[in-house]
Amino acid sequence: MSDWSKVTRPIPVPNEWTKPFWDAAKQEVLALQRCQSCGHLQHPPYPTCTQCMGIDLKFEPVEGKGKIYAYTIMYHTGDKRFAPAVPYASIIVELDAAPGALLAGNLLDAPYTEAKVGRPVEVVFQKLNDDITLPQFRLAR
C-alpha cells in the first residue's frame, strides 16, 4: 500500500472554466460540464462542447462510479514530494455516467497491484486545505 501521509501534493488553482468543479468537490460532489445543446458530459472542462461546439455549458452532479480506463505505476522519484508513496498507482477513470470523460486520480486504500484496466472504482474525497478538496478513487464496494 502506498503511503500518502508524507506526500505534499501540488494544490490545484481553479480558473473561470474549472471553478464550479472545485466548488462542488469541496461539497464532496463530483460535478462535470454538461452541454445544454446536445447533453454531452465532458472533463476536463473546456470553453466549448467538444461534441457539438455549443457554448452553453453547465456543471451538473454526476454519480462517482466508473472503471479504470488506464493506469501507470510510478517508480521514478524525480519529484521528491511524491517519493514517499513510490511505487504508487496513478489512474485514469472513465465514469459510467459520462463515457469519454477521463478523470485522473490515485488508487487509494488498496495495494497498487490492484490497479487493472476495467476494474470498477468509486469516487472518494480528500481534503487538501480549506479551499481545495481532491476527488480521488478507491475500488468499488
Binding site: P12, Y71, T72, G78, I92, L103
Partner: protein, 394 residues
C-alpha cells in the same frame, strides 16, 4: 493523388555533436547542424533564404532562454545574418514535422528557394520534468495533484490500456529496444553508438513508470539536426541525391489539454495524419520499403504501426517479432536507432533517416533497394505528422 507530389525535395542533412548534458549553449549546436546541412547540399550559407523550426522545450518547469534552452527563428536569424532571407516561420500545432511541411508549402508558393529547418533540443541539468511548485494551474490542476509529473506517465497510461485490453505482454517490447540499438551501432551520430543492448538488459532494467522501464524511454540529450529543402528541379543540381516528398499529412484530431491517456485519441490522431499521406502519395502501407516511427516512448511505435495501417490494432507487439523490423526484414524500422538509441531530438531525426534511406545515403545501415520511405514524425496525437519520401520521382 497530390498534384505537388515529388515537386519538393530534401537535399542536405546535418548533425551537431550530441552530448548528454548542456555543456555549451544550444545555439552552438543548432549552428553546427545548420552549417553541416548547407555544406552537405553543396550550397553557400548566403543561398539560404528560408528558415523554419519548432523551438519548444519539452522539459517542463524550466525557463525558455533563447539560444540557451531553445533556438528560435530570431536567434538563428541573428546568428546567420542571411543577406537573401525571404521567409521564416515557427510552428506550434504539429511539432517539427509542421515546420518541414510549412517550408514545403513556402517553396511551392515560390516565396523562397532554399529553406533550412532545424530542431535543437536542450537537456537541462538536474530533473528533466519539474512538476509544478506548490500550485498546479492550467491543465495541470487535474493531473499534477495525483503525481502525474510528465509525458512518461502521460504516455504510460495509454500503454496499460493497450496491453490489457489486447491481452498483451510488455516483455515483447524488448525486440524493439534491442533491434533499434543494433541499428544505432551503424549510426555514428547516435548517442548509444558503441553501446549495445541485450534482451536481458531490457528485461532486467529498472521500472520508471510501469509499463515503461528505462529502455522504453528515449534518452534526453543536448543537440541539433537540420535539413535543406528546395524544389525538385533545383535539388537535382545540388550535391546529394534528393529525397522527394511524395506526400505528407498532419493529425486532424483534437485533444483537450489535461485529458490524458486516451488510447482512442492516439489512434485517431495517427489515422487522420497517415490517411492524408497515403491518399496524397498514392501509396499504401504494403508499398513501404522502410519506416521511421517516432519513439519518444516505445509505445508510440505501437500506436504508429497500428494507426498508420501497417498492422491491425492490438497486434503491433507481435508484428515487430521474428526479424520483421531488421534491416533485411519486411519492414525495416527506425533504422538509425530511433530516439530510444539516438537521443531525444524529436522527429527531425526520423525525417532525416527517412530522407537518407530514400536517397540511398544511409551507408552501412542502408536498406537495399529502398525507394518508398515512410516517416511518422511525432507521437500520433501529440502533434503527429507523417511523410513519404521517395528516391525515384513518379
Amino acid at each position: 493523388m497530390w498534384e505537388n507530389r515529388c515537386k519538393v525535395a530534401v537535399s542536405g542533412v546535418g548533425f551537431s555533436k550530441i552530448t548528454r548534458s548542456a555543456d555549451i549553449p544550444l545555439a552552438a549546436h543548432a549552428l553546427e547542424a545548420v552549417k553541416a546541412a548547407v555544406e552537405d547540399s553543396g550550397l553557400k550559407m548566403s543561398d539560404i533564404d528560408g528558415l523554419a523550426t519548432y523551438p519548444e522545450l519539452p522539459a517542463t518547469g524550466h525557463a525558455e532562454i533563447d539560444g540557451v534552452t531553445i533556438v528560435s527563428v530570431n536567434c538563428m536569424m541573428a546568428m546567420l545574418r542571411l543577406p537573401n532571407l525571404a521567409w521564416h516561420i515557427q510552428t506550434e500545432s504539429v511539432n517539427i514535422g509542421g515546420a518541414v511541411q510549412q517550408a514545403t508549402n513556402a517553396l511551392l508558393a515560390g516565396v523562397c528557394k532554399y529553406a533550412v529547418v532545424w530542431r535543437a533540443m536542450h537537456n537541462p541539468k538536474g530533473t528533466y520534468q519539474n512538476l509544478p511548485g506548490q500550485f498546479a494551474s492550467g491543465a495541470a490542476q487535474f493531473t499534477a495533484p495525483y503525481g502525474f509529473g510528465g509525458p512518461g506517465q502521460g504516455m504510460a497510461v495509454a500503454y496499460t490500456r493497450w496491453l490489457e485490453t489486447n491481452n498483451q505482454n510488455r516483455e515483447k517490447m524488448a525486440t524493439l529496444a534491442v533491434t533499434q540499438r543494433k541499428h544505432a551501432q551503424m549510426n555514428p551520430y547516435a548517442y548509444f553508438y558503441g553501446t549495445p543492448l541485450t534482451r536481458e538488459d531490457y528485461l532486467n532494467s529498472r521500472m520508471v513508470a510501469y509499463p515503461f522501464c528505462l529502455y522504453d524511454c528515449d534518452i534526453p540529450v543536448q543537440g541539433a539536426v537540420a535539413i535543406v529543402l528546395t524544389l525538385a528541379d533545383r535539388a537535382r543540381d545540388l550535391k546529394p541525391k534528393p529525397a522527394y516528398i511524395a506526400g505528407y499529412g498532419q493529425r486532424l484530431h483534437f485533444e483537450v489539454a489535461g485529458r490524458i491517456g486516451s488510447l482512442s485519441s492516439y489512434m485517431e490522431g495517427g489515422r487522420s495524419s497517415s490517411h492524408l499521406t497515403w491518399e496524397r502519395s498514392g501509396f499504401t502501407p504494403k508499398d513501404v520499403d522502410v519506416a521511421q516511427i517516432y519513439d519518444g516512448f516505445s509505445a508510440s511505435v505501437i500506436y504508429g504501426l497500428e494507426s498508420y495501417g501497417f498492422c491491425k490494432e492490438g497486434e503491433a507487439l507481435d508484428f515487430i517479432q521474428d526479424g520483421r523490423i531488421e534491416l533485411d526484414g519486411e519492414l525495416p524500422l527506425n533504422t538509425f536507432g530511433g530516439s530510444l538509441s539516438s537521443g531525444r531530438i524529436h522527429g527531425l531525426q526520423h525525417i532525416i533517416e527517412g530522407v537518407l534511406q530514400a536517397s540511398g545515403r544511409a551507408g552501412e545501415r542502408q536498406v537495399k533497394g529502398a525507394n518508398v520511405s515512410f516517416v511518422g514524425a511525432s507521437a500520433p496525437i501529440v502533434q503527429g505528422t507523417t511523410f513519404i519520401f521517395v528516391g525515384e520521382p513518379y
